[in-house]
Symmetry: C3
Subunit: 357 residues, 3 copies
């Protein structure tokens, strides 16, 4: 597929500088762009690429100043970054063939399920009893939607997502392949003989609007009540969310992090990858947690920044980590000092000074 600079400028309502007939067939980062690529510059530190890039069309901010002639056609817009993001979206829709509708005949839809308008249900997907599938929902092949599950409007389940009975997803939720919503919480009562008895997990998972969840993540149902993912939350791949956890609005969590049971995470938090969190704690709004940290107690002050395992104040942790690397030298200095003090003590004792240890 090819587009002219004129077509793109019109779409973005931008101002064109250069050849309106030049064509592009792909999009690329400015440092990787070739002839025929469309690219963008939003951050001033990339402006140097203006003069060396092979891109055929570059989207730039209105205010950008050109110092010497360039070969690319420019399209000036108010906000280069968001204009480019908009183009990515359009391109994505056109290229990936992701926009499907209809119910493929090899799927299974229970007679009692309620299916909205403009829905796509792929082959080998299973829609259970009394499930409610909202308008515009897209369910890719091989998904499982249990009994009494609700999927809000325009929600998208990629291939192989599993949603257990009774869970509820809001509008515009996106879940990537292999993610499991609503598996049993890990609850077992120890018996006297050292074995364990399962505690039935009768709660569910509630996922609010505009949440996106990556691939192969697991979110367990509550023992009682609900595990809750608030609106706008973004979860990466391979994350573990245990039973009765609550994650506040617009919190972002990177891959492979694990949240233990009943912990409550605030709004607007930023949590790195491979973080671990114990159960039954509360994390204040806006907390930032560095990758691989271990959170062993509640965080009460909003916008705290944490690092290390067990985690503490980020800046202090960097100092401790730096000294950790030098522990052999520090130990050596201590040893040398012990020797010196020992010699001083011995020396003074020969002077008949009144020295008591």
């Amino acid at each position: 597929m090819q587009f002219t600079a004129q077509q793109i400028a019109t779409l973005l309502q931008g101002r064109l500088e250069g050849d309106p007939a030049v064509q592009v067939s792909d999009v690329a980062k400015i440092e990787e762009a070739k002839s025929g690529s469309l690219s963008f510059i939003a951050n001033p530190k990339y402006e140097e690429y203006l003069y060396s890039s092979h891109a055929s069309i570059i989207i730039v901010n209105e205010s950008l100043e050109i110092e010497r002639p360039i070969s690319a056609t420019l399209i000036r817009v108010k906000d280069a970054y968001s204009s480019f993001a908009l183009l990515l979206e359009k391109y994505d829709e056109m290229m990936s063939g992701r926009v499907k509708t209809g119910i493929e005949p090899q799927s299974y839809v229970a007679a009692t399920a309620k299916i909205g308008k403009d829905v796509y249900i792929g082959a080998f997907s299973y829609i259970g009893e009394n499930a409610v599938v909202g308008d515009g929902v897209k369910i890719y092949p091989g998904c499982y939607v249990g009994s009494n599950v609700k999927l809000g409007a325009n929600t998208k389940l990629y291939a192989g997502v599993k949603v257990y009975d009774l869970c509820s997803l809001g509008d515009r939720v996106t879940i990537h392949s292999g993610t499991v919503i609503g598996g049993d919480g890990f609850g077992f009562a120890p018996l006297k003989d050292g074995s364990y008895k399962k505690i039935a997990q009768i709660g569910n998972v509630i996922i609010e609007d505009d949440v996106e969840i990556g691939a192969n993540t697991t979110i367990d149902r509550a023992t009682m009540g609900s595990t809750i993912i608030r609106k706008g939350v973004k979860l990466d791949n391979l994350i573990q969310v245990a039973h009765n956890v609550e994650i506040g609005e617009h919190t972002v969590i990177a891959a492979q992090t694990g949240i233990s049971g009943s912990s409550k995470i605030g709004k607007y938090c930023t949590i790195g990858g491979q973080v671990g969190m114990v159960g039954h704690i509360t994390i204040a709004d806006g907390t930032k947690i560095n990758a691989q940290s271990g959170i062993s107690k509640s965080v009460t002050t909003p916008y705290t920044v944490l690092n290390s395992s067990p985690a503490f104040d980020y800046k202090s942790s960097l100092k401790s980590q730096a000294i950790f690397r030098n522990l052999p030298e520090l130990q050596q200095r201590l040893l040398k000092l012990e020797e010196t003090v020992h010699e001083l003590t011995a020396l003074l004792s020969t002077q008949n000074l009144e020295y008591k240890k």
Copy 2:
């Protein structure tokens, strides 16, 4: 669905105090209970909620003493916790629609597979050649059961579980969605040119009775022989169990932990989340390992408690971790001491004392 206090008291063989006709329609923790909720108090520290809870019915221990009037109807039983757990089970069976039987027509069952009585096989599940499916087994939609796999009686595979050829599961095993049993062990022989040659993994996985495994966990088949999960083991989500590992009876492992190849874990161990364990080691019975620990060598003393990475004695590790946080202060103290000693040494040298470094 609604139940009266009288119905519940009869089921639990409990003694009723209050209105036998009061009705409940859900179950909740005592601190979250509303009018119409059934709840329980087993732990004395929750007894304060007796007087403030909105629960309509509360299950309590026979021995509980009431200090002032309460609004809820009480049901007194010998063990409030296990009575409540029993109710959860009953509720779970009724509400979740999980009890299914029959072979859904859109499934695939090989002609040579042997299928027991009262089995449920969901649509889009695949039962391979010579597989043996025991009585009462429930296979949810989208599972894969390879050739020559054995599933014991009343075993349950939730949607999308994959069991490779030749693996064997005992009775009453529960496996949650997305878990993979019997993938190839990670075995590659280095060649002289720096590339690797795969070593065929011809063993299998044996899972004994009463094991429960969470979602998206992976248990690899043995190179030769068997990877073995002994009876009563409970594994959480996203755990990695490598080839030829053996996990002893009634050991419990939390989410995202990884066990490397050929390690043998004892009975009755308790292993936290995100723990890593090197290969070819042995862990004594009853070992407790704190979350995020790294186990780099065998544990020979039963009931050892470990923490940190690399792990060592739990109590010692807490002291080291506390000092780690104060390393900048400790370094400062050392520096100050060096200065003082330097001054002392200089001072003494001016005194013509016979001081040799």
Copy 3:
């Protein structure tokens, strides 16, 4: 199935010592072999087992010297290890029923897909529009192959693998169950109100020849361009590979490791389990990274060995870790020294020496 020593010797072109008619029905490690087992000894440290093993047939190196009589039949070959590995492969093919061909009728193959010769497509697998499936490809049940995906010759997808649109796999690639190739990268632009806007991920994943990937691993598509896994790479289970990552030829990565966006890993690296790596860094060829390490910056010297989080030189890290365990003692020594120096200072001040702090 049974095989005679003569049959095996012929297959391996080996020299037989002992009874050519003795039969074996399984294969086992030398220390676990029973009567009827075939085993091997390649490493001199296992030679002691020659005299105690119950194996019926043992494959050994030509050069092995026998010191006293043994009961097993020997087959002498040039390289016992690779001969045994070859037998494992043959055994694997025979026993596991893994060699299937044909398109099972309950699959879905888009009319526009191009399917090669000698292909196996299992039931409930979905092959999307314009997908290209090479000769000899095996797609087990329940896989999803999106639109415009390319699978090279003899590539194997085990049950439940998901490959999103536009991704490309080379020849002889093996992917285990539950792995997700090409999910969206984790890219969201923060908005002024604290919420996030998704950035469309329009790139793909390219996996070159001879790559093997374990179960439930996730490899995200690039934002633009490609996430690239170079030829011969081996990835274990539950690994996270973020958008725009590149992993160099013949690099091996153990389970549960996570690589953040845009990082470039060199060739011939060996990366342990549960390692975390920040984004936008470069790792030199041949780097070795110990399990659970955290890599927070680029590695520029090839064949560096790293450990700890944040990671530094392996040998130094072992020293620091050893001192970490002894921090309480080190702190105690510092305290004692402070006291001694304090006493010395006090003593000297009583001597009317000119001492200034």
